[in-house]
Symmetry: C2
Subunit: 463 residues, 2 copies
């Protein structure tokens, strides 16, 4: 029988403890120093960045030979307060059991490893400081998202992962199939016969839950999705992953201006949540990843977001005394350099840019009275440019139908999408936020592979 | 300019309002009755099951001709209290604008539709009472899950959807590929050359996040997943979907008995949450889907879960005065009829059955001292049998390696999984709960297609 209750390191360090309280802790050795008369073990169990210092007063009585960095221990002892140190609680060991040794070929020895190296051992990197911090941070921010929307009576919707449509009308999709690749069934026209595939048709991995989200919003009001989305684009950059999580709120009875209020609230809520509820993690990022990161985040929390139209943005950019790589004129899509100029130099705060040319935006965005712009919005923030994009949706049946026809879309295939405009249509709006982009922004991490536990990118799907 | 603030129906009905307060509401017409001198509109905006009754005192002054079931309206007016009715708040219309008409071919006319019919118009069914209730319920229970684990300092992990492994060692997987099906690249051996596929290898959709979850648990302690999982099994039953969401907690430093405490806490927390925080939805299910459902759920909340070993279960079943379809003897897997006998008739409460024969369980479960059973557990509940399955994991490197070899698994491919036993291995345990099975159990819905917004099943992946 155990007479000791197991405590997590985090709770020991945070809680007010009784001196000499008996506890049981289990964890992994972070550092180990030993001399004839005393030994020190820094133990971590994943509950926090901080370790618990374990003091071994009679080293010869304990099985210290098997202890190395990475070994797992079960330690009984009592807690002790130490005056005058930052970390004021330590544990005096009374019994140590080695649960699992860490042989010498353990790749995580005590030294700083490059992120490139750690990506190659992504199954072990959660045991390092940076990635344990990142995984806890990711979890906290995911919870913040659910909390934000639940507090506002939004309903969380699981849109399908396997789909037949392509919400962007552009993004390359992964095919999902159970057909025999070596000998697929063919039809009379000599094409692959997808009617014999698992779902009786050609299917792929979703690029966005928006279209299905609209169906739900125009039934139960305010909804949000938070799920994995996919891009089969062969772009090996530090900002693109083939599999990533996206948050897509969609609101019925909501026009563009109403949505801007929500977007600003949302960003500020998440940023404030990071600073207040993930303080340990943000301090870590601020110290080790990007000095000054907390200040950037704090400034956004306190800012009044600006708002201009695309047309105004073009005017500002044309008047700017800047050498842009990509030329600016009405009709072009804004490049990162343009977005950053606007938010960093001209306004020096986050801004919403609205009413983009219809030509450069997706078919489902609501056409303005001018006949050439749509109710699209991008939210621009310093250092990266666009962080969120959204729009008021085209809710007029005839207008939407004509736009879809002009794009050459198969109206029959999307009849369900048109139906919600045919029956009881309502103004509605929504936006999308890439979860990994959010994490990169908050943490200052520069590679998307380092904010996902097991990243999927071209030629890489290990674990 | 709007001088009226938009209110949600739910907030109007729940809040204490000022009499004669001016409000703006928007929603869909649920019923509409009109006479010469007065008209009544039941309006619903998806925020609750209950409608807001709108009274039109001078029908001739309003555009009532365009109003039909399913039409969307924008209504300004003032709130009024009505004595002696269950629904004590109504709205007197001052201005009505028809946002979207609902032509006569609208398929959701006011009558009860069969669930089969509604599955065929799954894009419109969220607008019915049953499915708006179900979608709100699904959202609330998803939040309950996140809340439960966050309150216990578990970290939420996104395990990969696209994988190269197969956690169950059995389940059929969907292939994910961008190869040209009509003309895939072949290697020298005449096989499809997956090295030329998007990820440089053959990949599929995950059947479980467990193995990756173990990597995280043995780094940061207590984690849980909550994400989509897939089965390419061609089984067209009311309880199987090809795409479903699963919750998989995994705890380091946790043995089987510790986990049973968590499992019981978890089930009771969710069931209590449903009764208390989703009262409207549970009342609806109790009235329209399965009378007495709330009582079953309440009994489980109050029960002390029992615990027996598989061997004891077999003894009980062999001694039972029952005609089982499947014969019982030590070594067979328990069928639903056996499970239900145990939980419904013999114990009359939920029970944990532990220590199953190694032969019928997965390779990763921890082998007991007897050499023939493993630390597996199933939680059985009345009416369905198993609702959760889990196990303590085999943490001993040599034992696990031998089991994997015996199963003919590719050790090289799973070296990452073995590595966490090689370096600082610790006892750990985890379980899995199918989210849709939970929703079916709580609601009494008998077909899994009716608890998922857009179900994916063999030959069906619409929308």
């Amino acid at each position: 029988m155990d007479y000791f209750k197991r405590f997590k390191v985090k709770d020991i360090l945070n809680d007010n403890i009784e001196e000499y309280e008996d506890v049981l802790v289990m964890g992994w050795v972070k550092t180990f120093r030993s001399s004839k008369n005393i030994a020190f073990i820094e133990l971590n169990d994943g509950s926090s960045l901080e370790n618990l210092q374990i003091v071994v007063l009679s080293p010869e009585e304990f099985p210290l030979d098997d202890i190395a960095n990475g070994a797992s221990l079960r330690v009984e002892g009592y807690l002790d307060k130490v005056e005058g140190r930052e970390q004021s609680i330590e544990m005096k060991a009374e019994k140590i059991e080695v649960l699992g040794e860490a042989p010498e070929d353990y790749k995580l020895q005590k030294k700083r490893h490059s992120f490139e190296f750690l990506r190659e051992i992504a199954h072990l990197r959660p045991r390092t400081n940076t990635f344990s911090v990142m995984n806890r941070f990711r979890s906290k921010m995911a919870y913040a998202i659910h909390k934000f929307y639940n507090e506002r009576d939004f309903y969380y919707i699981h849109t399908p992962i396997i789909t037949t449509g392509d919400a962007e009308g552009a993004g390359e999709m992964f095919r999902v199939s159970t057909l025999d690749l070596e000998d697929p069934p063919m039809n009379d026209q000599g094409e692959v016969d997808f009617s014999q595939d698992f779902f009786g048709q050609e299917t792929g991995l979703t690029v966005s839950g928006q279209l299905q989200g609209e169906l739900l919003a125009t039934a139960i009001g305010d909804i949000y999705t938070f799920g994995p989305t996919f891009r089969a684009e062969n772009s090996n950059t530090s900002r693109h992953a083939s599999e990533f999580w996206m948050i897509e709120p969609e609101m019925a009875f909501c026009e563009l201006d109403d949505m801007l209020v929500l977007m600003e609230d949302f960003i500020k809520y998440l940023f404030r949540y990071a600073l207040e509820e993930a303080e340990e993690e943000m301090n870590f990022f601020n110290k080790w990843i990007d000095e000054g990161r907390k200040e950037i985040i704090q400034e956004i929390v306190e800012a009044d977001f600006g708002q201009i139209t695309y047309t105004e943005a073009i005017e500002i950019l044309e008047a700017a005394d800047e050498d842009f790589e990509f030329p600016v004129e009405w009709g072009v899509d804004l490049q990162s350099e343009h977005e950053r100029y606007l938010t960093e130099k001209h306004f020096n705060k986050p801004i919403f840019v609205t009413d983009y040319p219809a030509e450069i935006k997706a078919f489902y965005m609501r056409l303005n009275e001018d006949g050439k712009t749509v109710k699209a919005v991008d939210c621009l923030v310093p250092q990266v440019g666009e962080i969120i994009g959204g729009s008021q949706r085209e809710e007029r049946y005839e207008v939407l139908k004509e736009k879809m026809e002009n794009e050459g879309m198969d109206l029959e295939k999307y009849s369900w999408y048109l139906d919600i405009r045919k029956y009881g249509t309502v103004p509605h709006s929504g936006f999308g936020l890439g979860f990994e982009r959010l994490l990169m922004y908050l943490s200052g991490m520069s590679n998307i592979r380092d904010v996902i536990p097991f990243p999927r990118t071209p030629k890489s799907a290990e674990y």
